[in-house]
């Protein structure tokens, strides 16, 4: 392994549905300003940058080029990483790799999405490899998760009400998070009567469109002390993609998350993730997905997660502190979402999450990124190494 690395500063914007008061570049600058302030450093200390967004949703070609000058990147090393919804996760791994080489003193990573500028981007549908085939079907994350939820209900025996329970729990968490976009004060009835997008996905079940950005700074061990006395160590990271093969999967509810999580657990000797990891920030683009993801990261057996909600075991101060920030159904600046997960997980480890802080000592936290039809990124954080 290369050098040990730690996150020394994090920052995110107050996520909103529309931000006409800033350009995409200025939105990023806001998040970066906060990350630098959090780390107590100036832009001069940064010597490598890595950034990204889901650019087709933005409608720009290689947007890093015109965003970088606003973000203090002129004269610095850097490049853009992109991979649909996991963009933020893949670029976070990029930043970890850069820091772990020990070649750089401080690496800044940021990601963004300004969904208010990208009306209808997701109707673009289809995929590059299958352009003349799937392009005729209106495929989007909504249809993707409708399909997953349909199969999940079929296999697990849970009902729509359980999905509503998940959504209400997420909202309760989001209410305590000042950065979250949707803070609605939901009840099960409200969710159950919301507009149906594609059975069984209701509008409230789906992640919103968000204008937001998030940034963090990661350093190799030798420079960590210079910037902070509360470093968040990065224990491991792993990307796992499956290239749009959802229709081929034996189990349409599954993603690569279980594979990725098991890989990291094995490498790190984690045998009981439920006990050994105290904070979870998992990218669930729709509330039914949260159930499946809980099973895939090893919190409970397959198709049993809905019972945990029935028993009221999930919440910030409950047995399973899953997505204390309110998760993706509350805030979703697509490209930046995995970075938001990472930022929130780091805040939990530091004990700086404020109202949505999980009580007790957080030794380990797990953040993930999700994209496309089952692409996943795992980021494992620790308080001490």
């Amino acid at each position: 392994m290369g050098e040990r690395i730690a996150i020394v500063g994090v920052g995110q914007t107050h996520h909103k549905s529309k931000r006409p008061d800033v350009t995409t570049a200025e939105l990023n600058a806001e998040a970066i300003e906060r990350a630098l302030e959090d780390a107590g450093m100036t832009m001069k200390a940064i010597d490598h940058i890595v950034m990204g967004s889901f650019e087709v949703a933005d409608g720009y070609h290689i947007p890093d080029k015109w965003i970088i000058p606003e973000c203090g990147g002129v004269g610095k090393s850097g490049f853009e990483i992109q991979n649909v919804g996991t963009t933020g996760g893949v670029l976070a791994c990029g930043a970890f790799n850069l820091a772990a080489t020990g070649l750089f003193d401080a690496v800044l990573a940021f990601a963004w999405q300004k969904m208010d500028e990208a009306a209808g981007a997701f109707g673009r549908g289809g995929g590059g490899a299958n352009e003349y085939w799937t392009g005729q079907f209106p495929m989007s994350p909504i249809t993707n998760f409708a399909r997953r939820a349909f199969a999940y209900m079929d296999r697990s025996g849970c009902t729509e009400e359980h999905f509503a329970m998940v959504r209400v729990k997420q909202d309760q968490c989001a209410m305590k998070n000042p950065h979250a976009q949707l803070r609605l004060g939901l009840t099960i009835e409200k969710v159950m009567t919301d507009a149906m997008l594609a059975w069984p996905i209701r509008r409230l079940h789906m992640c919103p469109t968000t204008a937001g950005a998030a940034a963090f700074i990661v350093c190799p061990e030798r420079t960590v002390k210079k910037f902070t006395d509360k470093p968040v160590w990065v224990e491991d990271w792993y990307t796992c993609h499956q290239g749009g093969a959802l229709t081929m999967a034996e189990d349409p509810t599954s993603s690569t998350l279980a594979h990725a999580a098991n890989h990291v657990y094995k490498k790190r000797g984690i045998t009981n993730p439920k006990k050994e990891i105290q904070a979870w920030e998992v990218y669930e683009p729709a509330s039914p997905a949260e159930l499946r993801w809980m099973e895939e990261v090893g919190i409970c057996e397959d198709y049993k997660a809905w019972k945990l909600f029935e028993q009221d075991k999930v919440g910030i101060d409950k047995e399973i502190p899953f997505n204390p920030s309110g998760g993706v159904t509350a805030t979703n600046p697509i490209g930046a979402t995995p970075v938001v997960r990472l930022v929130e997980a780091a805040l939990q480890v530091r004990g700086d999450a404020g109202e949505h802080q999980i009580p007790g000592k957080i030794e380990r936290a797990l953040a993930t990124g999700y994209g496309g039809q089952g692409e996943n990124v795992i980021m494992l954080l620790r308080k001490s190494l």
């Binding site: 006409p20 800033v22 200025e26 600058a29 630098l36 409608g59 606003e70 973000c71 203090g72 208010d116």
Partner: protein, 155 residues
């Protein structure tokens, strides 16, 4: 099942697929202020960095060198000097004018940067680096950089 089908043609085909999109661009508070000054007062303005003193046009919120927020607006005369130019001789659907026409980088008086815009009222063969230029505004202005029709040689 599992029958091999030799009779189907394997001749490669090419398909045409149109992709329509309509993306919104926010100019933000800074851009709006700059563009409104052009629209309402035919005035070009720049932002000055409180740290290094550099004046930027087109403006941006953060100084590219110092990464500090800028808030001091400077009125510019709009006049400037041509530092480089090019004549576009091919046609694309997004071009604002009929080619051939010229782009120039105009180093603005009172600013440390140049502005890219089109050149007009000048013979394309007679454009010279170093020539003095001033903006020509459109009659109907909507709050866009295209409210400046082009830059012309100033007397």
């Amino acid at each position: 099942m599992g029958k091999y089908l030799p009779e189907i043609s394997e001749e490669p085909i090419v398909v045409e697929v149109p992709s329509h999109s309509s993306f919104l661009v926010s100019t933000g508070a800074t851009g709006t202020k700059f563009l409104s000054a052009i629209r309402d007062n035919k005035k070009l303005t720049g932002l000055k960095c409180p740290s290094c003193g550099k004046v930027y046009i087109p403006p941006r919120t953060h100084c590219a060198d110092c990464f500090v927020r800028m808030s001091e607006w400077i009125d510019l005369s709009g006049k400037g000097t041509l530092t480089t130019y090019t004549v576009v001789r091919y046609q694309e659907p997004y071009m604002p004018k009929e080619p051939p026409y010229a782009y120039g980088v105009i180093q603005m008086d009172g600013a440390d940067t140049g502005l890219v815009h089109m050149l007009g009222e000048v013979d394309l063969d007679k454009i010279k680096i170093g020539m003095r230029l001033e903006p020509v505004f459109k009659e109907e202005r909507e709050g866009s950089i295209l409210d400046i029709d082009y830059f012309k040689p100033s007397a």
